[in-house]
Subunit: 242 residues, 2 copies
DNA sequence: GCGAAAATTATGTGATCACAAAAAATGTTA
DNA sequence: TAACATTTTTTGTGATCACATAATTTTCGC
């Protein structure tokens, strides 16, 4: 058994547009790859290694990594090594609780600001989720699902909680992605219709319940995946590739 | 009326210990000064300006500022200018709601892990708050009060929400500090006793209520301060020093 | 062969420079 | 005097280098 190196990983690439600063490009690229589970927990990330892999200078990587550390997406150890954190049962439960807490609040406070345009946009996003489910494209299921939630909460122009929620997603993401990838297509249920219906009826309470149900449903799906306990920290023997 | 510059401000200094990295020292220093309201909202912060003021190279300031931006303590404008954000009524209300939401949850989940040692420590911290109130030391009232809450929540070894809560504090801090400084000593009530009693009785529900009451009380005090509406964005005419 | 010590390499942090873009200051004209 | 154009200064970003420390490899003694 050999320890995996950064070079062994095939990163999902993003095209770098002109106006985008290099550090932001690196940040988004790493962020997306972490959320997709492309970079597995425990893997040490080095500034120079990433800089070489992405063909940029170390400086923008340095800033991107610091930001990710600040958001809890990566963990800085005492020996200043940066790794993708392992998931534990307790952490998972706490992160799920925080998702429900923050997101049902965000949905509730966004509700009064929802316009017809918002609903149309959310329906369009939801259609794209269905497509991703149909194609069993687990990476896009996650990414577009987040887009749905973010769009909903951001309808509130005074929204503060989105960055906090995104931090929770980032900590939950790499792990849940592994689970989603293992889910059968038929087990993924689209609960967003209920949320959209609540929005149409301008029923704040129903919206809150729909979002809560959506999150709980996703968590239950993850928990139902065969062999998921093996992915928690300390159960390395059941992890694949070990 | 002349726009204030960074050089006009007298920063609260922290001694730099040997093991502390420069960037962390700068970070903590800026963080403390922001929380104390030493740096007033709207003031543009520049890397070189701060580096000169603190007699360090621009690099550690750069990292510290980026981290503060990531935590919402400072705001990066479109023209990449970094300023201390202005407070608005809506933001204030939302931040207060998030405090209650997150902190009552954090208190509840920490409750089962509380030991006698924790209680003793919290009582010791609370005594220091009373001293700060007695001395009308508004900066220390804030800082030690935060220490109390952080200590309580951190009793849970699997606590995830503390960084999120600290982010809310940072966004609320500069503003509420202005209010606390204006409060008469007699109007500051120490509600922590109720929390400590709840802990002694191992009554999770009472603890939750005590923390909620403590936060609501603080907010009410801030709202009660004469002339506070003038500090919200858009009411510059009533702000002092203008 | 094997463990400890020493040398070597890798890595994060901080400093300095170059550059493009944004702000501010200055000059110009009506 | 006010409004616009031009120049100058300021500022953030990225690149490169130096340095201390942590990790790794090699060497040496038994």
């Amino acid at each position: 058994m050999k320890a995996k190196k950064l070079a062994d990983f095939e990163l999902l690439m993003l095209e770098k547009s002109e106006s985008l600063k290099t550090n932001q490009w690196v940040y988004r690229l790493l962020r997306t790859n972490l959320l997709c589970g492309k970079i597995e927990p425990g893997l040490p990330l080095t500034i120079r290694g990433l800089a070489e892999a992405l063909d940029v200078s170390p400086m923008p990587v340095r800033e991107a990594l610091h930001r990710l550390a600040c958001e809890g997406a990566v963990e800085v150890k005492n020996n200043r090594r940066v790794i993708v954190p392992q998931m534990t049962v307790e952490k998972f439960n706490e992160l799920c609780a925080l998702r429900i807490l923050l997101e049902s609040h965000a949905a509730e406070t966004a509700s009064p600001y929802i316009t017809e345009q918002h609903i149309t946009k959310l329906q369009e996003i939801d259609a794209r989720i269905d497509l991703a489910i149909e194609q069993e494209d687990s990476v896009n299921i996650s990414l577009i699902n987040q887009e749905f939630h973010r769009s909903l909460y951001s309808a509130n122009p005074f929204q503060i909680s989105v960055p906090l929620i995104e931090s929770v997603w980032l900590q939950l993401g790499p792990f849940s992605q592994i689970a989603i990838a293992k889910l059968e297509k038929t087990y993924i249920v689209d609960r967003h219709i209920e949320a959209i219906n609540a929005l149409k009826q301008r029923n704040t309470f129903a919206l809150r319940r729909a979002i809560e149900a959506d999150i709980r449903d996703g968590i239950a799906s993850i928990r139902s995946v065969e062999g998921i306990p093996g992915y928690f920290e300390g159960n390395t023997q059941t992890q694949p590739g070990g």
